[in-house]
Subunit: 420 residues, 2 copies
């Protein structure tokens, strides 16, 4: 597909993340006013909340953009999503007759503060990166063999929705319980092994019913869009706590998402084939139309005071073994009720070479091989003040579809009240 030209000139720049082909959904505020729904176009934001309020834009019978999140749009379902996308396209396409009335609703992104684009109903984190699973096995258990169920089940665990924050939110280093392999007793204090996980997040737009399984075709229709997702992880807390019931507090101090939700429709031109299957998937997980996408991904690290960020990894969303629709199907097939606003993390995305590893745990091989940044600093894990940033885009013919940066700094741990 080629660039679709807009009368918003900055949207026609081949380097912008937000051409007319994209039209991602976010929530923004200007000068401290109330957050509201907006759509990114070039270097501007279209204030669709104001357009709905003045009657210029209407989807469905009742207002859905009068709240500072996109969940009410999600709940309208795929037909309304397609209708909204067409309306926005009509407003912003080159030569649109409505340009005169729409232009007043454009606000420069440079003036806006971005907020959480959705209310996260529940958050689930999957484990669909095969190279990541092999690396973690090799580092933690001494063997790169996949868990016995890995090629059959899109393995996942429930995460903590209350810890999901929008890009730009700084994260305090977590306190927790850890135990060194040679220590007799565990100890309590700030994590020494704070890490990132490079992931994509899929946002469930329409729900399912408790007790009622769903098919992969239904699951694909339920997905509203995608975000970049950094599942901050405390490897020392996680390592001591995770057996037998899985990750818990090592993953609950923060998960960052990009400010813009890129719709499934905007990503559709970038679908790519499913990976080769080492063993056949059970029929309930098979997809007629594979839900994999070609999205290049990048991780940047910038210590406090460093002149610029260093790229520490580059990989692609198409490295995952299970699509979001397959993960959603597995999630709901037992009868688990899914709801608008559920967020599904893909799992850490790592490619086959070190340059493609999506976590510091892998890049520094469990801390044994520190990486060197462009400014000469070395890092095994994240130090206080370090800024970590995820970037991603799908590359079209003369245009890009991006998510905006997913960034955050690690701040020092907060103290327990009454403790020294």
């Amino acid at each position: 597909m080629k660039l679709m030209r807009s009368w918003v000139e900055s949207a026609n720049d081949p380097e912008t993340q937000f051409p007319l082909n994209n039209l991602p959904y976010g929530v923004f505020s200007v000068d401290g006013d109330d957050p509201r729904c907006g759509v990114a176009i070039g270097d501007m934001i279209l204030d669709v909340a104001a357009m709905e309020a003045t009657g210029l834009l209407r989807i469905g019978d009742d207002p859905v953009l009068d709240v500072p999140f996109w969940n009410e749009v999600m709940e309208l379902g795929p037909q309304a999503w397609a209708q909204l996308r067409l309306m926005l396209f009509g407003f912003l396409v080159e030569g649109a007759e409505t340009k005169g009335s729409v232009a007043q609703y454009l606000i420069p992104q440079a003036r806006a503060r971005l907020h959480m684009p959705l209310l996260v109903a529940e958050y689930t984190d999957f484990y669909a990166g095969m190279q990541h699973a092999k690396n973690m096995g090799a580092i933690l258990r001494g063997s790169p063999d996949l868990p016995a169920n890995w090629l059959h089940i899109p393995i996942g665990y429930n995460g903590r929705a209350s810890s999901v924050v929008v890009s730009g939110t700084d994260i305090h280093r977590p306190l927790g319980q850890t135990k060194a392999p040679d220590a007799a007793m565990p100890s309590f204090g700030p994590s020494k092994r704070v890490d990132i996980e490079l992931e994509m997040g899929a946002i469930v737009g329409t729900g399912s019913t408790l007790g009622q399984p769903i098919t992969t075709a239904e699951a694909a229709e339920m997905i509203f869009g995608y975000v970049l997702l950094n599942d901050w992880s405390a490897r020392d807390i996680q390592g001591w706590e995770y057996q037998p019931l899985g990750p818990f507090q090592g993953k609950a101090f923060g998960t960052s998402i990009s400010p813009w939700i890129v719709t499934a429709a905007a990503l559709a031109p970038f679908r790519c084939p499913a990976p080769a299957r080492e063993v056949p998937l059970l029929p309930y997980l098979q997809e007629k139309e594979p839900g994999f996408y070609n999205v290049t991904l990048e991780v940047l690290m910038q210590p406090a005071g460093a002149a610029q960020a260093s790229t520490i990894a580059r990989t692609n969303y198409n490295r995952v073994y299970y699509s979001a629709a397959q993960q959603l199907t597995h999630h709901a097939v037992c009868g688990c009720e899914m709801n608008a606003g559920d967020l599904l993390g893909s799992g850490t995305i790592s490619g086959p070479t070190k340059a493609e590893f999506g976590s510091l745990m892998e890049l520094s091989w469990g801390g044994k091989e520190p990486i060197t940044l462009d400014g000469g600093e070395t890092r095994s894990f994240i130090e206080d003040g370090d800024r970590l940033t995820l970037r991603g885009h799908a590359q079209g013919d003369g245009y890009r579809v991006g998510f905006g940066d997913c960034t955050g700094r690690i701040l020092p741990a907060l103290k327990m009240p009454g403790w020294e």
Copy 2:
């Protein structure tokens, strides 16, 4: 403490679960009208939503009982909780001068349908039953040794809030992926090992801030009340999925809670000492005032068509090794934001003898020793049509504090759309 007498005569019956000492919070409807907040007293429900609407009852500045859940009361905090309890006591105590105006707000429980008493924000399930942990180790891993972290960490995992239902809701047998030990490949279909877990649930009433750790004293103040909780489990799905990231779909098809939230204040007279510690707890988990309670618990099973239910287990909430306040502290200490309506399952409560085991997995020892019910039926796990019921009460001097039954039937699995 002795029975406090009410002018509602049925509340003075030593067998009632709802004397004036209790005053638990629920949500009810009559004849299909809108669900609303109520308080159980004897065999009646006090329609506190209507009392607030007419101005007879007011807590705080704004209405909080005009919604069909107790979360808005929770958010007012402990002082308001104490104030409400005193007001209710004043309305219902024997000799109350307001009896004439309050009596019209009493509705027979026999006429009411009970609904979810809260909006569950997020649901976390812990693992605080030591005998249960030992039994599961022995059955699943061939050794009753506790996991290395068990005596140090109140182990927990995030569950699925969307699957939490009120007592009386029937549950469909889940579909899922399982693999027999001798099978080459997994298969897909209805679970053959559906089980219960006898638990108590603690309800978080006031929240914490992302990044900010809390103390056990703060955690104790944050707990609004307690419910009975049955964490329905599919042991065959769980067994195949749970390594390395913990339970997921084997626990996501339903979790039932009792219809009445018994407040922490009502349970306060039943506090009991903490269990002996085999190793000292880290300071952040130590409690000045241990949050353990003497609550007798019972599990009943009734096959479809059976004349009556058989009691299959009897134990006590005081069997747990970690209090809800300790679990909440651990949950939040990494900086995880907690919110009003968060539900914390205690973990399966099992005592040292078979008569006290809180799951069929333990009672039938992994299915190898089926139990025999009073009517002669045998069961290793739950069959379609079986009704399982949890009951619990704290025994005072001439009175009881109860939760109402936590009951549900297992119905046949629903089919995948388009599948045979």
